[in-house]
Symmetry: C2
Subunit: 109 residues, 2 copies
């Protein structure tokens, strides 16, 4: 118990859930927005940007990376993170498909 029963669902449903879960945290939303907004990709500037400990930010970045949503490149002593274009666009497509599959019928309930 305590574990999600992934066997029951399709690979797509599980993958989508995993990526949305990665996004579904205010800090990670803020990080993604900042990665998008910034001229260049940012690194540990996120730590001073938000009021979270360095370990916490690093952990959030790891989760976004695990979900495949961002990538990190070592640049000297620091690490430069940015959006992973492929995964981002794929998720964008899947989400707009999910949203668009709904059409407002007023004969409902």
């Amino acid at each position: 118990m305590g574990t999600t029963k992934t066997e029951i669902f399709t690979a797509e449903q599980n993958r989508l859930a995993k990526q949305l879960k990665a996004i579904a945290h205010p800090a990670r939303i803020a990080i993604l927005q900042e990665l998008i907004r910034a001229e260049a990709c940012i690194c540990g500037e996120l730590v001073s940007e938000f009021g979270l400990a360095q370990a916490t930010i690093s952990q959030h970045l790891k989760e976004l990376k695990n979900a495949g949503l961002i990538q990190g490149n070592i640049e000297g002593t620091s690490v430069c993170y940015c959006i992973e274009p492929r995964a981002w666009k794929k998720l964008q497509k899947e989400m707009s498909k999910l949203f668009a599959s709904y059409t407002d019928r007023d004969n409902c309930c």
Copy 2:
């Protein structure tokens, strides 16, 4: 500790995180897809549809309802659930805004 530091982030970021969190589970994705797909709104048919206990499905429905993404109407002895159009469209708009705010620059990292 163990609690998300919501004070740090904007109301929008927190709201978006909350709604995405509600979606970010394979069972709840499956439920939403089923609510969208079905001609009429479904109720406890979801229980026999998926291999999850009645209590579990009820709990997932509650979370989707808490996030404002679905609504339930009592219909005799059963309950009819369906997408909450307003919240759904609002989330759709916010997500497409988030996705669209990213433009693929190859000068990144």
